[in-house]
């Protein structure tokens, strides 16, 4: 294998990793702040992709449609997320782990049928602007030009979230709230409101990631099924609630996928699970997470 093709493979691992990061970032944020593992995250991601398609489709004649539909997808998903939080998720903060998992899993089921009812079973395709239809070459390695946009968005989300977590206390509030919600409230922290907005923000990220995903291939039902498990792996490898961890975890999964495909194509997923299991056994809180009492 020559150096160019290694670099090419690295680049595609990077793009894959970025997409995973975009999906996992919101998941990790929600888990990090609210201690809820959101099974419905990928469904909302998918919904974001469909939203993006709809916006694009409605505004097709304008040249900005393509660009605008991506953030709009984020907002539309955030609205759904906000609704879900206020109506359902709010009721389960105090519940046990399995009940939270069941509720979010049920939401995922309901959402995927909602998607099916709304958009039908036919795949949706967004036609990219001319300038994004050809590959670019970086040191002789081809790269889908759209992925430059993807990587930039990934970076933007990473920086934005880093800022959010660094300059706010949300990360700490959760660790405190896990132990005693009552005490946190007695310190004057309005948990319900914080949770609502963090959840909404997390879902905004999911929808935005969906919008970013939409022009990559085609949008189909069931896309969320595969990615949610991979996103879990990312979060586990990187460490629950750690932004840096999520980023590193995504890149690890992306690159592992990308390179295993060359040597042991059938084994890519197996390897990801082996890595995830190994991390859990050796360092359950992940590469960058902090141990939490259970």
């Amino acid at each position: 294998m020559d150096i160019t093709s290694i670099f090419t493979q690295f680049l595609s691992g990077l793009t894959y990793g970025t997409i995973l990061f975009l999906v996992a970032a919101g998941l990790s944020l929600i888990f990090g702040v609210m201690n809820i593992l959101n099974f419905a995250h990928a469904a909302l991601w998918l919904m974001g992709a469909y939203f993006s398609y709809t916006f694009w489709n409605l505004m097709q004649e304008y040249s900005f449609a393509f660009w605008l539909s991506i953030p709009l997808a984020g907002f539309a998903a955030a609205a759904v997320g906000w609704f879900l939080e206020v109506v359902l998720i709010k009721r389960i903060y105090k519940r046990e782990l399995h009940e939270q998992l069941l509720i979010t899993y049920s939401i995922a089921l309901i959402l995927s049928d909602t998607i099916k009812l709304t958009w039908g079973v036919t795949n949706k395709l967004i036609v990219r602007p001319e300038m994004l239809r050809k590959p670019v070459f970086i040191f002789g390695s081809p790269l889908d030009s759209y992925f430059i946009l993807v990587i930039l968005s990934g970076a933007a989300v990473a920086i934005g979230l880093w800022w959010f977590l660094k300059y706010t206390r949300y990360g700490h509030i959760v660790k405190a709230a896990v132990y005693s919600r009552e005490m946190v409230a007695a310190l004057g922290i309005p948990i319900p409101r914080i949770y609502t907005w963090v959840f909404t923000l997390g879902i905004f990220l999911a929808g935005f990631a969906g919008g970013i995903q939409a022009p990559i291939g085609s949008i189909t039902l069931g896309m969320d099924n595969a990615i949610i498990i991979q996103a879990f792996c990312v979060v586990v490898i990187g460490g629950f609630g750690s932004l840096l961890g999520t980023l590193v975890g995504s890149l690890i999964v992306g690159e592992v996928m990308s390179f295993t495909i060359l040597f042991w194509p059938e084994g890519a997923m197996v390897l990801i699970f082996v890595i995830t299991a190994a991390i859990l056994i050796v360092r359950p809180w992940g590469l960058f997470g902090t141990p939490m009492r259970t």
């Binding site: 093709s5 493979q9 036919t122 395709l125 889908d144 291939g217 189909t220 896309m223 990308s258």
Partner: protein, 386 residues
């Protein structure tokens, strides 16, 4: 009125097969409507449809079919998108003596091994398709002096059996071709970039693809944006009418591809012309391969009943053995040895056509069933080995 004819449909309405199955259901509904409008089977038995979701999972498929048989008292079931489901349903249908018509799933194993007299296949099976692709490719390989190739196939029954047969044929017909590498993306994969760059880096002379439904769309879209098709010939992979319609705007023109039942190849057949007309009137779109195949499945059954002159399943089953039927795809015969319909596969070059809002196949080559079927001797040998 006479007793109705209960017809079950168990297709993967959710999961990976939803896209194709939904079209199939539409084809079936149209056929049933037409038949019922004429009084039903034998002019008196109205067909009643019972539609279930097999979820593209074998054990769910089995449960749903059992339910159809026991509660809805169906006499025949059209099933499934997934070959694995069809294979799981086969013994159940045989046990309860219910006809089982496979109209989308096309693994050869459905009819080759452990054959059931109740199971019929109206779609060209994986062997026939692979052979058709190989014939087309071998010709091109000779012309262009190709030496090395790579395969990419979805990692499940259909992808595997299609890939295996195609590689075998290519080796037989063009011994100097070498298979450089096999790629096996997971069924349901959405990100193909690593495969794309991996393949491009190896610079094969051509790539043979058997990627399934939704994944196929994603794969081709993503590959295109890497300039994949400009660099590497991609002949003989399955690009059905569904993809032609879906990717009308984005599909790379000029690719040589393979499909199972393109309606435009048989517009000269009045039955097909009528079907397309009615289908468009009803659903406001052109029929995909799956709509055609499932429509044919119902008509094959109808003609079986007419030949048996009764709706009694035992008699219909016997009547259909080796029967010749008139379908949208022309006059075709079920092979006696395995109940496989001896139907054609189609290859051609993807190109725009002013008559349709999407590209179709140009220079279609119809590879007849008789040219592509597995020889009976091999089937017998395989059954013996089992």
């Amino acid at each position: 009125a006479a007793e109705p004819y209960n017809l079950g449909v168990a297709l993967g309405l959710t999961g990976a097969g939803a896209l194709y199955s939904a079209d199939g259901v539409e084809g079936i509904k149209l056929a049933v409507e037409e038949i019922n409008a004429k009084g039903g089977l034998l002019g008196q038995h109205k067909i009643e449809l019972f539609i279930r979701d097999s979820q593209t999972k074998p054990d769910v498929g089995v449960r749903e079919v059992k339910d159809l048989i026991l509660r809805d008292k169906i006499r025949a079931v059209i099933n499934d998108y997934s070959s694995a489901v069809a294979m799981a349903v086969k013994p159940i249908a045989q046990e309860y003596k219910v006809l089982h018509i496979a109209s989308i799933s096309n693994s050869e194993n459905i009819t080759m091994i452990n054959p059931s007299p109740y199971t019929f296949q109206v779609v060209p099976n994986s062997y026939m398709q692979a052979k058709a692709a190989a014939v087309a490719i071998a010709k091109m390989a000779k012309q262009k002096g190709w030496k090395e190739f790579i395969t990419i196939a979805s990692d499940y029954e259909w992808g595997r059996s299609t890939q295996a047969s195609a590689v075998k044929f290519l080796k037989e017909t063009s011994p100097d071709l070498t298979l450089k590498k096999e790629f096996w993306p997971r069924l349901g994969e959405t990100q193909f970039t690593s495969y794309i760059t991996g393949i491009m880096a190896m610079k094969p002379d051509f790539v043979l693809g058997s990627v399934a439904s939704n994944d196929n769309v994603a794969w081709m879209e993503q590959a295109k944006n890497y300039g994949f098709f400009d660099k590497i010939p991609y002949p003989g992979s399955l690009i059905t009418v569904t993809e032609l319609m879906l990717q009308a705007k984005t599909l790379t023109r000029g690719i040589i591809a393979l499909t199972r039942a393109p309606f435009f190849a048989h517009m000269d057949n009045p039955m097909m012309a009528d079907f397309v007309k009615n289908y468009r009137a009803k659903y406001n779109k052109y029929p995909s391969d799956w709509a055609v195949l499932c429509y044919d499945a119902v008509y094959a059954l109808k003609q079986g009943v007419e030949k048996a002159k009764t709706i009694d399943t035992e008699k219909v089953k016997d009547a259909m053995k080796g029967m010749t039927v008139d379908l949208t795809r022309g006059r075709l015969t079920f092979r006696t040895i395995d109940n496989q319909l001896s139907c054609s596969s189609y290859t051609g070059t993807i190109a725009d056509d002013p008559r349709y809002p999407f590209p179709i196949y140009k220079d279609i080559i119809e590879i007849k069933g008789s040219e592509s079927e597995r020889p009976e001797s091999e089937i017998l040998a395989a059954r013996k080995a089992k």
